[in-house]
């Protein structure tokens, strides 16, 4: 299916996973009748019925807490939290329960659940509907964090996340939902933890994930115009993340820039940059650059948000500094 939208790939992954495994259920606000605020669950109520596609009350903390209890009791819940900003209401369930249950119980049980979190700005949704908080979850042992950028990954990694025995934070960038791309007729299941070289290059390694991938590719295009060949790595997941692929690339390019939409300071890029700096020290000919949002909440006005989100210009500028 060429020209499949990202949100449709999510929808198909949910549908295929539910068809393949009767223990998969969906929980979320307005996901059944309404098909979800972003229509990711459209049609699934009719397909699988109200027992498996449940509209919940506006009770994020108990929705996720219940998902943990359900996952410990034979179901594989997939929860939609409407905006990642609202997961702040469910942190105990995710961090103290989901992430730790397997460990706390000495490995007696896994916690097979997925929490889908739409993050990111670009739609003038304002400070409480635009945040990128994935770095928090990457810091929590027991959780996996997946951030698909492409339509195919949206499908294949969601299938992988649902099949994964451990709790997975599945981050979808709102700005990507409407993006169209190729989805094979029989798409496969991805592997969590394997990065993808989205574009090969020899002069600098751009490490990124999520929607920022496309700004990196745009920057790489422009740089190629001036004979600077950037290798673009789409991490696809932050926990675990594919250190080997990144370090191997840096060993070839000797330069690296890490870019994401999240606030730069104490963001996920810090860990990537620190590891490159530590384990790739001898390969580096220049400091590892980092591109991320400035240290402020996501502003609302068009004139502000457009300046806030790291774009291709910002990435290009960082590459130039890195090559200077």
């Amino acid at each position: 299916m060429a020209d499949t939208r990202y949100v449709r790939a999510i929808n198909k992954a949910l549908s295929d996973a539910m068809a393949a495994d009767p223990s998969v259920i969906l929980l979320g606000e307005d996901i059944a009748d309404a098909g979800g605020s972003f229509k990711a669950t459209r049609g699934l109520l009719d397909q699988f019925g109200p027992q498996r596609v449940r509209d919940t009350p506006i009770s994020e903390s108990t929705i996720v807490g219940a998902a943990v209890g359900a996952a410990l009791s034979g179901l594989k819940p997939v929860v939609e939290i409407m905006f990642m900003d609202f997961v702040t209401l469910a942190m105990d369930a995710l961090v103290n329960q989901a992430a730790k249950s397997r460990f706390m119980f000495g490995g007696q049980s896994s916690v097979p659940m997925v929490v889908r979190l739409p993050h990111g700005g670009g739609v003038n949704a304002g400070p409480q509907h635009s945040q990128c908080l994935e770095a928090w979850f990457a810091h929590v042992p027991g959780l996996k964090v997946v951030c698909p950028a492409t339509v195919e990954d949206a499908y294949s990694l969601l299938r992988a996340a649902i099949e994964d025995p451990d709790p997975v934070i599945f981050v979808e960038n709102k700005a990507l939902y409407a993006m169209a791309g190729d989805l094979p007729d029989a798409p496969g299941k991805g592997v969590i933890g394997k990065a993808r070289i989205a574009r090969a290059g020899s002069d600098v390694t751009l490490v990124t994930y999520g929607a920022t991938l496309f700004n990196c590719l745009k920057a790489a295009d422009r740089l190629a115009g001036r004979d600077i060949f950037a290798e673009v790595i789409d991490l696809r997941s932050l926990q675990p993340w594919d250190k080997e692929t990144v370090l191997a690339s840096v060993a070839r390019t000797h330069r690296a820039v890490v870019a994401h939409e999240a606030v730069r300071s104490f963001g996920a890029g810090a860990e990537i940059a620190a590891i490159i700096g530590e384990e790739g020290f001898d390969d580096l000919d220049a400091p590892v650059g980092r591109v991320g949002a400035p240290f402020m909440p996501v502003p609302f006005a068009r004139s502000l948000e457009s300046r806030y989100i790291p774009d291709a210009d910002a990435i290009e500028a960082a590459v130039k500094v890195c090559l200077a």
Binding site: S59, A125, Q128, H129, M296, F300, A301, S303
Partner: protein, 329 residues
Amino acid sequence: MTRPAPAHGIAGNSRLLDLHRTMLLIRATETTLSKLFADSEIPGFIHLSLGQEAVAAGVCCALGSADTLATTHRGHGHVIARGIDLDGFFKELMGREGGLCKGRSGSMHVADMSLGILGANGIVGASVPLALGSALSHQTLKTGGIAVAFFGDGAMAEGALHEALNMAALWSLPMVFACENNGWSEFSPTSRQFKGKLSTLAGAFGIRHILVDGNDPEAIASAALEAADHARTAGPAVLECMTTRFRGHYEGDPQKYRDAGEMSAMTEGDPILRGRARLAELGVEAAELDAMAAQAEALVAAAVEVARADPLPDFDATLADVYTPLEAR
């Protein structure tokens, strides 16, 4: 527009006129917002309270200058009824430098500290603990004020309500829990999400519950005065206002989930038509009411023009609002 004086002791007739004026201003504002949004003059998304004007007008007319309020994503009516500057309001929603919040946050976060408005809120249920804390300040600092939390019927499912009812009762805080019960939680009837009865919940904590027809401005105004007086003198009160959401959850919502019958029936209970009829009964001239409506339209039209002319916010200045600058301490 200037801020309405607290309605205490104002004769019913003139209070009704004040209420009507306020409702008309909200109606004119949101009707205009709907158009501006359709023309994409307003970024992001907005939630209109058309049909719910009586709640905003009635509750806010019971508030005095020391009082504070925290509201929701559907808070335009509340802040207008509280007397917010219309130019600054439109500038904010249109993302301009002169906005009440300098265009930082838009419709879901409109605030005016000088009016005791602790902000609209993008987080369902968040207005409740915020108002609780404000009530704690009123009590501790002996301001004589009360705090009002506006929240919707869907928000009743959040644990915040339970925790706040308990703390308000425990500390006997000067607080009004104002539930705007429009029967809808986004695209679903709240009855399919929430099984609790607010009256019983309040009762479980020994909190006074007042139920009122949220489309009858007069009824709300007196119920709100009763709730506010109770909060000032005896501790927390819950005011549940049964009302009607005329528009979709947000502008642009096709509302496939609502049948034509409901859509047409609801307008019959229009609080503004009811207010107008009541005033006519009381002998107010139709001409006077038409003039009032025209004046509201004019105020709004003027504010929109001012907002359009306002510059866009400058990015670099924005950073200064993250933390309090030294000189501002």
